[in-house]
């Protein structure tokens, strides 16, 4: 009733051990790859920390870094074990460690899968963080004299130039905030005072955008002020003009950029997970076949290897019982005075005929 049993001859076992040794070393390299992917992701997120609001985004790269380090350690140990498995004597050293090792590796492989799935499920958090972060960055664009916010202007300008985007969802976002600081507004001019008075909150709003929104591919010099006023510029219709400013919103641009990175990283982690799973399966087969060899006593004989000794249901039940009894280790079974050998039927095996031998006559 074993799950997926396979017969292993001595040569097959040795070959399996050698192949697993090589695979384990390759897995150490993939562990390093996981680690560096985590570092790369962390750096990318930190680069634009100013533009993202507080969120749980850092958990994904942290998870990848931790999993990568654990992968290196586990696979290094696995390599050593598999190397020693070729020789049955050396295997005895590792006999007791192997089962806990396999259980640990199983849980570790699960966490790799969780890491891969986390990469794909970050969408919602990312979108929210970007929306709030960009909104705040644009609001504090003018505060270049406030400590803690003085570099936001440069960050936003460089973002808009590099990602070829303007504003949060479009260039109109700039019309709704005051991005020119009061230090540079001439309060003695009537025009300025009128504009401030016409706004409920006393903000200086205008239909203009910063220079970083200008599209490099435009055939005419950039129009950044009085954008909606067709008569202010010669030969200009802002409804049909598409090349003057960047049309894309920065939230969408950043979201696309990060989603691409996350998907590539997620795909790589999934492939590494499949690889780790196959290594784990191989090590399990090796362990069970070597244990059967020891049970049979002859190192050269053929043995069975399996994934689980009994079926899934029975294994789950027995493990559950073990865990249940763990809690009862200091309770005594009083039904038969604590002696576990009472009322047990005899189970001795007396040869092929199963006839108990006659008692020998006692010497007097």
């Amino acid at each position: 009733m074993a799950v997926l049993p396979i017969k292993f001859t001595k040569t097959k076992r040795d070959k399996l051990a050698q192949v697993l040794w090589v695979l384990n070393w390759i897995s150490v390299v993939t562990g390093i790859i996981l680690f560096s992917l985590g570092i790369f992701l962390k750096v990318e997120i930190n680069k634009r920390q100013d533009l993202m609001a507080e969120s749980q985004l850092q958990s994904v790269p942290n998870m990848l870094i931790a999993v990568g380090l654990i992968a290196c350690v586990i696979n290094f140990l696995g390599g050593k074990i598999c190397y020693d498995c070729v020789d049955t004597n050396k295997f005895l050293r590792w006999k007791l460690v192997m089962l806990p090792y396999i259980i640990c590796t199983f849980f570790f492989t699960l966490s790799v899968l969780v890491g891969a799935l986390m990469c794909y499920s970050m969408h919602g958090q990312l979108e929210e963080a970007l929306t709030l972060g960009l909104r705040d960055a644009m609001r504090y664009y003018k505060d270049t004299d406030t400590p803690g916010r003085c570099f936001l202007k440069r960050t936003v300008d460089q973002l808009q130039i590099q990602f070829q985007c303007c504003g949060n969802e479009g260039y109109r976002d700039w019309f709704q905030i005051q991005w020119v600081s009061n230090r540079y507004l001439d309060m003695s001019q009537r025009e300025v005072v009128d504009r401030l008075r016409s706004n409920v909150e006393g903000k200086y709003l205008m239909d203009g955008v910063p220079f970083s929104c200008c599209n490099v591919n435009s055939p005419r010099p950039c129009i950044q002020y009085q954008i909606t006023n067709n008569s202010a510029h010669f030969n200009y219709d802002f409804h049909t003009e598409e090349l003057n400013l960047w049309m894309k919103g920065c939230r969408q641009a950043l979201r696309d950029y990060y989603t691409n990175i996350m998907h590539s990283v997620g795909l790589t982690v999934l492939i590494i997970w499949l690889f780790e799973l196959s290594v784990l399966t191989g090590v399990r087969y090796l362990q069970t076949s070597l244990e059967n060899v020891l049970r049979q006593g002859d190192p050269e004989c053929e043995s069975d290897g399996w994934l689980l000794e009994n079926s899934f249901v029975e294994t789950a039940r027995s493990n559950f019982n073990i865990i249940k009894h763990l809690g009862k280790f200091n309770q005594i079974n009083i039904s038969s005075n604590g002696d576990p050998n009472i009322d047990k039927p005899p189970t001795a095996h007396y040869g092929p005929d199963n006839v108990p031998p006659k008692p020998l006559p006692m010497a007097s």
Partner: protein, 334 residues
């Protein structure tokens, strides 16, 4: 020595392969539009040829070294070695020459950039003329990437009409006055394109009426340094290329030293193996040398066959001269 013969050629081949990959990036693809003449291309071209040749040289060096371990197999390289050394020395000196060239061409680079940028700024407005329609885009990208403005500095934009006539309202009085006041009828402004704007500036960019202090509140154009990029693009580009050439020059020099040591080692190996050839006892001690005769004599020895090849069709029999007098011999004097 023999062991080094194995290690060095492979190392050299690798280093030169890397070098090969780096030299095409030497010239920024877009920047070739702002360079007037392309004499500077000879430096990366030479480096690429030398890189390829070095891969071949080192491959043969490793084969020679491998065969040198067996005195029986070594003699088959005998006729190959003389031209091989000639070629190797030629390409190795070419490597050194290319490094010297890259520093010597700085002047030519500067001149060609000066002319190229001047043209770029002049044709900035001609986005409707085929052949010049990408100048605006190129110059804008250049100014934003290298954080520079204009040719020598931002004032170059004041002397050029960079706004096309298509976008000027000729019915407005202001435009008419501006054009009339200029001898060539050009519309000049004391303004710069948006790509000159410095993102690090604390205030929104002032790109028009730069020299007019009263047009902007709290603004003094003499002391304002952060508003637009003050550096000229020619200076920025020359610094960038010189930095690149310094790095590449250092790498090429180290590869040159490595290559020379490999060639010297192979030469010593060859001469010492030649002394062993034909001997019964292959375990004897032999002497190796770099050159059998002096430098000049060896050089003439190599150059003579080449000269003979070039002078192949030259006929100089003194007794045939009276016969050939009327017909005229076809002599090609080199």
């Amino acid at each position: 020595m023999l062991l080094s013969c194995y290690v060095f050629p492979h190392q050299s081949a690798r280093v030169l392969e890397l070098h090969l990959l780096s030299s095409p990036s030497f010239l920024h693809h877009g920047d070739t539009h702002v360079m007037d003449n392309t004499d500077i291309h000879c430096v990366p071209n030479t480096l690429m040829i030398v890189g390829l040749a070095s891969m071949g040289i080192n491959y043969f060096a490793s084969r020679i070294c491998q065969d040198a371990l067996d005195p029986g197999r070594f003699p088959r390289w005998k006729t190959f070695l003389k031209p091989y050394f000639g070629c190797s020395v030629f390409f190795t000196t070419l490597m050194l020459i290319s490094v010297i060239l890259s520093y010597a061409m700085k002047g030519s680079l500067e001149t060609s950039l000066k002319i190229g940028l001047k043209n770029g700024i002049r044709f900035y407005k001609d986005t409707d003329t085929p052949g010049r329609c990408f100048q605006k885009q190129t110059i804008d990208h250049l100014q934003m990437e290298f954080q520079c403005c204009g040719n020598n500095d931002y004032k170059d934009w004041f002397e050029v009409q960079w706004i096309s006539n298509r976008y000027l309202d000729f019915s407005s009085k202001e435009v008419k006055d501006c054009i009339k006041s200029n001898v060539d009828g050009r519309y000049l402004v004391d303004g710069v394109p948006f790509s000159c704007c410095n993102p690090s500036s604390p205030r929104p960019c002032i790109q028009y009426k730069i020299t007019n202090n009263t047009a902007h509140y709290n603004y003094d154009h003499q002391t304002e340094e952060l508003n637009i990029f003050i550096r000229g693009c020619r200076e920025a580009l020359v610094n960038y290329y010189m930095g690149l050439m310094n790095t590449i020059g250092a790498v090429v020099l180290s590869v040159f030293l490595l290559q020379s040591s490999v060639l010297a080692s192979v030469r010593l190996l060859q001469t010492s193996m030649e002394a062993v050839a034909g001997q019964e006892n292959v375990e004897i001690e032999t002497e190796g040398y770099l050159l059998e005769k002096g430098v000049k004599e060896t050089f003439m020895e190599y150059v003579d066959p080449v000269l003979k090849l070039l002078l192949l069709n030259q006929v100089t029999p003194p007794e045939a001269k009276p016969e050939a007098g009327a017909t005229g011999t076809t002599t090609t004097t080199s």
